[in-house]
């Protein structure tokens, strides 16, 4: 059972493209309203499954091989805020678009928080293993088409109501799938960040001299 705790507003502001903007009272008020709505609607759910490596089905490209090198097992993770959050954002787009964009960015923060909570949960499950950071379809050269396989292996539609469209968009939208490697030996600290990101040439954050947080 995962429950949301207060959301990181600096992150939300960054997703809104306003990292450099001076915070003001009006934005704080708007965020208060949105956070209350969001936490009321969200029904965070996670599902995970341990698999043995190598896993042929989930191997594609070089980045995942590098990411899981030295690991004998891995954990697949699926996380979602649930369908009600999508609906909340949809309704806000009709009633008040300003709220909708704030809800949208705060929901992104929220699903990241759910993943972080899941990390802690997994660490407790596997106390004698070291775990890499989460790697998702769409990172680096890891194909987004693997969403379908992640969901199938996790039985995610049945267990947490998480599915994908034919174009591999996760539905509900505020959801994540990921894989993290498990090893009995300490894992060399891997590099996250722009260097391994497939969007490094087109990223708006990067152009503005910012960073998305990955």
């Amino acid at each position: 059972m995962i429950t949301l705790t207060p959301l990181n507003r600096r992150e939300a502001v960054r997703y809104l493209g306003g990292a450099g903007v001076q915070m003001n009272a009006e934005m704080e008020r708007l965020m208060d309203v949105c956070e209350a709505q969001l936490r009321g609607a969200a029904q965070p759910k996670v599902v995970w499954k341990r698999i043995d490596l190598p896993c042929e089905e989930l191997t594609a490209g070089e980045d995942i091989v590098r990411h899981l090198s030295g690991c004998t097992q891995a954990v697949l993770l699926g996380a979602t805020l649930g369908a009600a959050v999508d609906r909340l954002i949809r309704v806000a787009q009709i009633r008040d678009m300003a709220q909708a964009v704030v809800l949208d960015s705060m929901a992104s923060v929220a699903v990241e928080q759910v993943c972080t909570q899941a990390d802690a949960l997994l660490a407790r499950q596997f106390p004698d293993m070291y775990m890499t950071f989460r790697f998702s379809p769409g990172y680096g050269d890891y194909p987004i088409s693997l969403q379908a396989d992640f969901l199938r292996l996790l039985d995610a539609p049945r267990k947490i109501g998480l599915t994908a469209t034919e174009h591999y968009l996760l539905t509900p939208a505020k959801s994540v799938t990921a894989i993290a490697g498990l090893s009995r030996q300490p894992i060399e600290k891997q590099r996250r960040g722009c260097a391994v990101c497939s969007l490094r040439n087109t990223c708006q954050y990067r152009k503005n001299g910012e960073h998305c947080g990955f």
Binding site: M27, A98, A100, V101, Q125, L169, A173
Partner: protein, 774 residues
């Protein structure tokens, strides 16, 4: 089956259904084990055998299902056991939560049902989305005559993942004509009592319980309820009208054997429903057991702006109407989109789907055309009301069969070939006839809501009495619920609101159940609320008190100390409207637009670009500008002047992409700069964009795509726009200007796929529009 496959450790490639072909004898042995344990029905190993899930397996739905049914039949040889074609969810969410269209879901299921024609019955199970389940039921009913059993999966908290309530499932499935309904998977049988109890209140059909063996341990995958306790818990649920029992995740033949033992000799006890009549969306049920307000505002009759919205495909306008009526106190909404300039059938489907994506009130599908009603009934998620049938033979013969097939309630108008009878007796006779005809088709009279018709009192003063007398007789003698459009009564009189609310109160006292009114007029909604208190319906006046107790204190309009510019900058809508009104007294409207409003918005846009304000603040300013525009538009259209639109622009999120918030932000800004946006929505076919451009003679097109996977659709769309002769100049060059945006796009890529403008954000879209349209 799944449990047995897992326990056996049988290896399979891709999906467990492939075992039907690779290990037929194994599958047959599992079935055999269940039959020996006492099962009367075995579910063939076909749960996920649909074209979507099998893609990449190398096998077709047809091949797997035929083999699966044979494997099950073989196990049944020499016994009375029946084989069920087992159908689970497709694996994608339907619109609006996902991208799968209702019609696509139908096609997946139809293929399975045709392939399973050798089964004895059809089972639809583990469904979490009522809309998808409706597609499956229709596919089953329309492509076979086998019995259909339907079960959904509920979470702790009593709802499915998509928010479906057990009552809504029961009402909808009963209406659609399944043979039994219930719950499978979900939780252990010890936790299912609330779900089963809620279902049985809303249906007379036998119930199905096929629970899990409790909860699995995430590490060992062992379930925590053992056969004996499992069977005891199921037994305790029998009085709810349970007729079919079984096991889902974690249950083995031992569970079935124990069930069989405990239930031996126990007869099915039907459990009559306690809810007389109710309608629902997927998530909200409204029981018609007290006066319920039907909102009348979604109807173009006599509404210029509404007609314009229909002509422009402006669905957001209609959604705004839906949400504001819901806030005003409506409990159901009437939906009428009849307008000579549009395809009513298409529009009805589109509007119903759109409203249901943002509003969970049950809807009343309102049209004079049976084909529009049928399209609406198919597309609707839940149990709706049909508005309407009347006493004419043609109407009875065409509308009532639709009501029956799709399991709706229906409004019956007391008029026929000879018009509206003058007397109450004449209308009562027609009501009787409608009820008799409905019952002959198997429609419960409690699902027929009789409308005794309101006539204009200023034209025929006695007519009011006749309407009320007819209403009283229908209510007391026929036992039907009643419905009445109220506002007509006061036509031609001053102070209509007073007449309307007085008439409404009189009608409520005569037994009116469903007043069709404007819920945003407080005198009307208030009359219903007050009536509920005075008639002893609203216990302790609690609803009344909560409606009015915390009503916002009346704020005196502020003195207009705000300039138009200040109002726009601060996102202050009322102040903006006021400042605009004041300016209009002595300034040319277009002068206000061009010299005050747009520059004010530009200034805010600049601040946004420079990182001085946040995106939501830009949007709030834009929305304030919208209010100012509306004031100006009203002023101009009163003077018959239509100058204010600066040109039309098509916006669409491309085929395959369902993330449309970016496109919607662009729309807000373009709207507020005075452009007329034709918003085609999300997941839009290239051809629709081209057709719209041709039909409405639009030369500026904005496309959005969020994902790398859908950029291809953007490219395809642009190519189609460029290559369509009707959108070319005589020299073959393109007449259209295409601007594009989206998270993964770059300027280079935009140019490569043939766009004219790459817009990094909403503000740049406005810049592009200015350059092209001025």
């Amino acid at each position: 089956m799944g449990t047995m496959i897992q326990k056996s450790g049988a290896g399979y490639r891709h999906s467990p259904e492939t075992l039907n072909l690779s290990r037929p004898e194994l599958i047959t042995s599992f079935h055999r084990a269940y039959i020996e344990a006492g099962a009367d029905i075995v579910y063939a190993n076909t749960f996920g055998a649909n074209a979507y899930k099998l893609a990449g397996s190398g096998f077709s739905t047809e091949r797997i299902i035929r083999a699966a049914i044979q494997n099950a039949k073989k196990a049944c040889e020499g016994t009375d056991a029946l084989v069920a074609l087992d159908i689970g969810p497709v694996g994608m969410l339907t619109e609006p939560a996902g991208a799968m269209r209702f019609e696509e879901a139908y096609d997946y299921f139809k293929e399975q049902i045709l392939a399973g024609d050798e089964a004895d019955l059809i089972v639809l199970e583990t469904m979490t989305d009522l809309y998808e389940l409706k597609a499956a039921v229709l596919a089953a009913k329309e492509n076979s005559d086998k019995p259909v059993l339907a079960t959904m999966t509920f979470e702790r908290g009593g709802r499915t993942f998509t928010g479906v309530s057990p009552a809504a499932a029961a009402l909808t499935l009963t209406g659609l004509g399944v043979d039994a309904l219930g719950v499978n998977c979900s939780l252990g049988p010890d936790e299912l009592e609330p779900v089963v109890a809620e279902m049985t209140r809303c249906t007379d059909l036998p119930l199905i319980i096929k629970a899990n063996a409790g909860l699995p341990d995430p590490n060992t995958n062992e379930y925590n309820i053992l056969p004996q306790r499992f069977a005891q818990c199921v037994e305790a649920l029998l009085p709810y009208g349970v007729r079919f029992v079984g096991g889902c995740c974690g249950t083995t033949p031992a569970y079935i054997a124990e069930l069989k033992r405990v239930l031996e000799g126990k007869a099915y006890q039907p459990c009559p429903k306690t809810v007389g009549t109710a309608v629902c969306s997927a998530s909200a049920v409204v029981e018609i057991n007290e006066p319920r307000i039907i909102g009348e505002r979604i109807n173009p009759t006599g509404k210029k702006l509404f007609k314009q919205a229909l002509a422009d495909n402006n669905i957001d306008y209609i959604l705004t109407q839906a949400l504001s009526q819901a806030s005003g106190g409506a409990e159901l909404l009437d939906v009428n989109v009849g307008h000579p300039e549009i395809d009513e059938k298409k529009m009805m489907v589109r509007v119903l789907k759109a409203i249901q994506s943002v509003c969970d009130l049950p809807l009343q599908i309102d049209s004079t055309k049976p084909d529009v009603l049928e399209a609406g009934l198919r597309a609707y998620n839940g149990k709706p009301i049909v508005n309407s049938v009347n006493g004419e033979e043609k109407s009875l013969a065409t509308v009532l069969p639709l009501v029956k097939k799709y399991g709706a309630s229906v409004v019956g108008l007391t008029l026929d070939e000879n018009g509206i009878p003058k007397t109450a007796e004449g209308r009562f006779e027609i009501a009787k006839k409608i009820v008799a005809r409905a019952e002959a088709l198997g429609i419960d009279r409690r699902d027929v809501y009789i409308d005794c018709l309101t006539l204009t009192v200023s034209a025929e003063q006695d007519a009011c009495r006749e309407t009320l007398r007819a209403l009283h007789r229908v209510k007391t003698e026929l036992g039907c619920k009643t419905c009445l459009g109220v506002s007509n009564i006061s036509f031609g009189l001053p102070n209509r609101e007073l007449v309307n609310s007085t008439f409404l109160t009189m009608a409520l006292e005569e037994g009116l159940d469903l007043p069709i009114i404007n819920p945003n007029i407080d005198a009307m909604t208030g009359a219903v609320r007050a009536y509920r208190v005075l008639a002893g319906i609203d216990k302790n006046s609690s609803e009344f008190i909560s409606s009015y107790n915390d009503a916002a204190p009346v704020v005196k309009p502020r003195q207009a100390s705000f300039s138009l510019e200040d109002a726009v900058r601060g996102g202050l809508k009322n102040e903006g409207a006021q400042a605009t009104e004041q300016l209009l007294a002595d300034t040319d409207p277009m002068e206000i637009v061009n010299s005050r409003l747009i520059p004010a918005l530009d200034k805010v846009g600049e601040d946004f670009e420079k990182g001085k304000i946040f995106l939501p603040q830009l949007i709030q300013s834009a929305n304030t500008a919208q209010v100012c525009f509306d004031v100006i538009k009203k002023h101009l259209s009163a003077a018959g002047d239509n100058r204010v639109s600066k040109g039309k622009i098509i916006l669409a999120t491309v085929k395959g992409d369902i993330h449309d918030i970016g496109k919607n932000i662009v729309k807000v800004l373009l709207d507020n700069y005075g452009y007329t946006v034709v918003d085609l929505g999300r997941d839009v076919e290239p051809q629709l964009i081209v057709d719209t451009a041709i039909e409405q003679n639009i030369t500026m097109i904005g496309l959005s795509a969020l994902m790398t996977t859908t950029l291809k659709s953007m490219e395809d769309t642009i190519r189609l726009v460029r290559s369509t002769p009707a959108l070319q100049n005589p020299d073959g060059s393109s007449r259209c200007v295409v601007f594009v945006g989206g998270a993964v796009l770059t300027e280079d890529y935009a140019m490569k796929i043939g766009a004219d403008y790459y817009c990094r954000d909403a503000k740049e879209s406005v810049d592009a529009a200015k350059r092209v349209l001025g």
